[in-house]
């Protein structure tokens, strides 16, 4: 079973990298770009058959290591 974890800076934390990427896109001619937030993406392979257990385990992993709760928030998806 696979799980995906999306980690992004919290809305209250300025994202310098996302800001520069947004500026670059505007320079490329994408004047409609308002903002970009850059994040991290993890694909975790697990030895679990039960999606609920997998989700609970990966959520725990995100809390303990994959995200820093001071500055980041995350979302966990379990793939069937």
């Amino acid at each position: 079973m696979k799980a995906r974890v999306y980690v992004t800076l919290k809305p209250s934390v300025f994202d310098p990298q996302g800001h520069v990427v947004a500026e670059a896109l505007v320079t490329l001619g994408y004047a409609d770009v308002k903002d970009v937030r850059q994040g991290k993406f993890f694909e975790v392979e697990l030895d679990h058959a039960d999606p609920a257990t997998a989700k609970a385990r990966v959520t725990e992993m995100a809390d303990k290591l994959l995200a820093n709760p001071v500055i980041e928030s995350y979302r966990v998806e379990v793939l069937q």
């Binding site: 994202d15 310098p16 290591l65 001071v70």
Partner: protein, 236 residues
């Protein structure tokens, strides 16, 4: 007294700290590998600058799991003086020994230059020999030194006088032009509530002799020597 300098894979200021402690300040010093589990009789511990574990995931995030960190934590819990310099500061943040976190510098630039830093508080083991509001000229060399803490935590830091170093102009005045990385409140270094654990982004060990461009940093290590000699610190 004896300094122990922790060496992580990817540390690069470990020998600078070792040299400053042993040759400049003139005390005993030993390098301790991150896989060791004891601090070799340290009276003070330094987590040096560099890119521990390649800064994978986040700066300091993997170093927190190095075996030596359990010993560092218990040393700190007993009141032992711990200094985190640059990447060492980032490790202390990830390990939860200091509050807050680092994000990328606001101008997305690795900044390497000598900057003025004002000593905010002198009642820590690493600033005991400083004059109040003394301005030190110290090198910084980092890409992620933009200090962040949520508003309530930031207010608590200021209220409990835990901001120990702040970026200022050479006269000691705070101003946005003198903040090199976007740190909230111009924070360059903080301590824990017990005041024995201090972290800062500037490198005092790289500014400990005039030939290096500044000898201002020497007072940071000299402070802990003085604090221990005066018996101001109690730890087992």
């Amino acid at each position: 007294m004896k300094f122990s300098v922790v060496v992580f894979p990817g540390s690069n200021s470990d020998y600078d700290a070792f040299y400053a402690a042993s040759r400049v300040v003139g005390e005993q010093a030993e390098l301790v590998w991150h896989k060791d589990t004891d601090l070799k009789g340290a009276d003070a511990v330094i987590l040096p600058g560099g890119f521990a574990h390649g800064d994978y995931l986040r700066t300091g995030a993997i170093a927190r799991f190095s075996p030596i960190m359990a010993a560092v934590k218990s040393f700190a819990d007993r009141g032992g003086p711990v200094l985190g310099i640059c990447n060492g500061f980032q490790v202390l943040l990830e390990a939860g020994l200091l509050p807050g976190a680092m994000v990328r510098n606001d101008r997305i630039k690795f900044v390497s230059k000598i900057v003025p830093v004002r000593v905010e508080q002198t009642d820590t083991p690493f600033t005991a020999a400083c004059a109040s509001k003394q301005v030190l000229h110290l090198p910084i060399a980092h890409g992620e030194g933009n200090y962040y803490a949520p508003p309530d935590q930031l207010a608590a830091l200021e209220e409990h006088r835990q901001v120990i170093f702040r970026y200022t102009d050479p006269a000691g005045e705070v101003g946005a032009d003198w903040n090199p990385n976007g740190s909230l409140n111009g924070i360059a270094g903080i301590c824990n509530r017990q005041r024995n654990v201090v972290g800062l982004m500037p490198h005092p060990e790289r500014a400990s002799e005039a030939v290096l461009g500044s000898a201002d940093g020497r007072v940071v290590l000299a402070s802990v020597v003085q604090a221990l000699a005066e018996g101001a610190l109690r730890h087992a």
